[in-house]
Amino acid sequence: MTADSVVSVENLSVRLPRGADRPFAVENVTLDVRKGEILCVVGESGSGKSVLSAAVMGALPRGLAFGGGRVLFGGQDLTTLKPRALRAMRGKDIAMVFQDPIASLNPAIPVGLQVEEVFQIHTDLKPEERRARAMALLESTHLPDPARIHGAYPHQISGGQCQRVVIAMALALDPKLLIADEPTTALDVTTQAQILKLFNELRGGSQHGILFITHDFGVVREVADRVAVMRHGQLVEIGPAADVLDRPTHAYTRTLIASVPSLNPPARTTDLTAPPALKADDLVAFYGPVKALKDVSVTIPKGSTLAVVGESGSGKSTLARTIIRLHEPDSGTIAVGGVDYTALKGRDLQERRRLIQMIFQNPFGSLNPRRTVGDVLMRAGVLGGQTATAARARALELLDLVRLPREAFDRRPDAFSGGQRQRISIARALAMNPEIVIADESVSALDVSVQAQVLNLLDDLQKKTGMTMLFITHDLRVAAQIADHIAVMKRGEVVEYGLARDVLRRPQHPYTRDLVAAAPGQTREEGQGAAAE
């Protein structure tokens, strides 16, 4: 424990319940957070980073138990502290910022009162003083019109504003340690950039130490002074940000960093002169009174990939749903392989719909847990018009194609990890022999290393099968890796549309420029761009 460290974790282990895939969630981890710095703990899902943050808060999730080591904070060991003493510390000396800002605030209480509650719990301030302090805090996190925000309920303000409120709440009593667990993961990229900026402000000057948990190396580049990399509950590597990010010593860190998609698009060889597989003209669609699509026109040449990029509420998913007519357009035309898709009805529509298949975001929710993988794939094949025997042979081929072992045929989805499930979803989409595949945020739920594999797989499959792809994503970096063309959407409109290279390198529309600038991880990235190729 050095003189300026705020908290130091010494040989900390956290035991998982019996029957888990490993004995420890966190195993023998030693690190410390120092005054005025941001220590980023990075890792993929299941690496134990969130358990570590909970352990530092002295609040282990149900079923987990301390298995040795200490967490020293102000001379006390948090792992052995009584609940009453811990409670007195929480919110005052140690504060926390969470992943989902809207859900983290009580929906039934105005946000200002939730900030004031911290004073109510830990101080004897009078109501007027509490209100004044809360107001000042809201202002210090750059919330517009603090008086109005103070009286607003969480659902009445945006996610970014909610996160500022949560941060204001955390800073209320000037805690020595601030723990932020994926604080920007649930936010749009431009909002994320603003919140990261706020974190950077917090570091300078004040005496906080910040423990920042994230899975995103882009975010790490933006804020970290030091970086700790975790894997399977163990600390793989720790050191100053520049060292870990640019001269990683451990092989796992290198793989992780190489998997981070960059904004530099790799060279692509797709033939863009092919006739269009999908052509949508002047699509207009409403969601209730909201015009979700305003005259959207896109064309995808056969065998190429169009990435539609936008933040939440931009209409990108509505576009996908409208194209396969899960949502009916109010006007405009969709031509699939020259056939007017909007005019199809009943049986014809069902027939043609098979030519467009969709891969969804959540690999856990989109596969029926009661059916074996083989069953799922064969069913899709039979629906696509094959005989059972042919479908079976095709299902096995598909497993090879998405690089899953053939033994997967007889297993159920719960035997597979997220990345493997997404491969199964891809195989299922391909079982219908579609001409067009729509991938709606299909890699957003995956860890970066898995994400890179799935992106490579999709690219490979496109080369082999000549399928056309519509790729919906909020992440410009992912779009850069897979797209021939990029369409940027904002509030139901396509604001920029062109070759991926042009859109990323010479964005014309101010909004695209904002998006490109907001994509995290560019500050020190030069010379790294080709890593993901």
Partner: protein
């Protein structure tokens, strides 16, 4: 805001009109039938014809409906053929008796089940939780008539502590109310306790409760200020659904304990084809159902700010 209230009121009035029409259609479409029921099976055909003529039953159906509806609104509910008195004389007093029974049951079962549900939900998986869950499944699974027999066997015949009939002939006594209330409470409290428990568990697992915990809030503050308010939304709906259920659900219990309430009245009216009394009972039930729905909507909005129609949303998207 005003538009929303007006819309709600229009819905309510519409629903009531539809039900009143159905009631009228079922009971008075066949005028011969009405005459037979009012004058008795041994009345002569010309007697019936004269009665129909005198009471305007030869007018077209819709005219009769509108007139009937108007009479209903102006509290002219006709004569009960069974009791030989105006319906308005007998119904309110019976309704009040059921009101007492239902009210006491509602209070007892709500308090009991909320307390049990909250205690169980606060600490998911604890002994309290498992006991409450088990007992509530058990009591909800046994129908009222079975519980009534069972409780009577113990408290009336074996221990002899309580009276077996609740006729209240010699005035109102709390002693006679105990068994009917106990039977109804056992049946309804289990369900409500389970709903409360489930919402409480959900609230205790929510991110905002974790936020409160990380603020250093005490357990009582977390439960009372953060979890409870949000956890009460579902139970309030169930409680409100209980009121109409109590009105009709009490029939079995009222008949079993010979309690002179709305349930027994409806039961007797139906047994004796007392047309006007049945009509009045049906319409009163509709009013009660609709009124409780309105109240429950209001409470819902009070508990859940997201449902309030706000004049000005506080924040634009950043």
């Amino acid at each position: 805001m005003l538009a929303a209230v007006l819309k709600k009121l229009a819905e309510v009035v519409g629903a009531m009109l539809v039900v009143s029409f159905i009631v009228f259609l079922v009971l008075e479409a066949n005028v011969e039938d009405v005459a037979v029921k009012v004058l008795g099976a041994y009345s002569a055909p010309d007697q019936r014809a004269a009665w129909l003529e005198a009471n305007g039953y030869l007018d077209p159906f819709l005219v009769r409906y509108v007139r009937w509806l108007w009479d209903f609104v102006t509290l002219d509910w006709g004569q009960s053929t069974l009791f030989r008195v105006p319906v308005t004389e007998i119904l309110p007093q019976r309704l009040a008796m059921t009101g007492i029974l239902a009210g006491v049951t509602l209070v007892v079962s709500t308090v009991l089940s909320l307390v049990l549900g909250i205690l169980a939900g606060m600490n998911e998986g604890s002994i309290t939780d498992r006991t409450v869950s088990f007992v509530s499944v058990l009591t909800t699974s046994i129908p009222e008539f079975a519980t009534a027999v069972f409780l009577s066997a113990i408290f009336v015949f074996w221990l002899g502590w309580l009276p077996g009939a609740s006729t209240m002939i010699s005035g109102f006594t709390a002693r006679e109310l105990v068994l009917p209330v106990a039977v109804l409470t056992l049946y309804s409290a289990g369900y409500l306790a389970r709903i409360t428990r489930a919402s409480m568990v959900e609230a205790m697992r929510s991110p905002y409760v974790r936020t409160a915990l990380m603020k250093g809030a005490s357990t009582s503050r977390i439960v009372l200020q953060h979890a409870l308010r949000n956890a009460l939304i579902a139970p309030v709906t169930v409680i409100m659904l209980h009121i109409p259920w109590l009105l009709s659900g009490v029939i079995v219990v009222e008949v079993f304990f010979a309690y002179k309430g709305f349930g027994t009245l409806l039961y007797e009216a139906a047994l004796n084809s007392d047309v006007f009394l049945i009509e009045a009972c049906a319409m009163v039930s509709v009013v009660v159902v609709v009124a409780t729905q309105l109240i429950s909507d209001g409470l819902y909005r009070l508990l859940n700010p997201r449902l309030r129609v706000s004049a000005k949303p506080a924040g634009a998207t950043a």
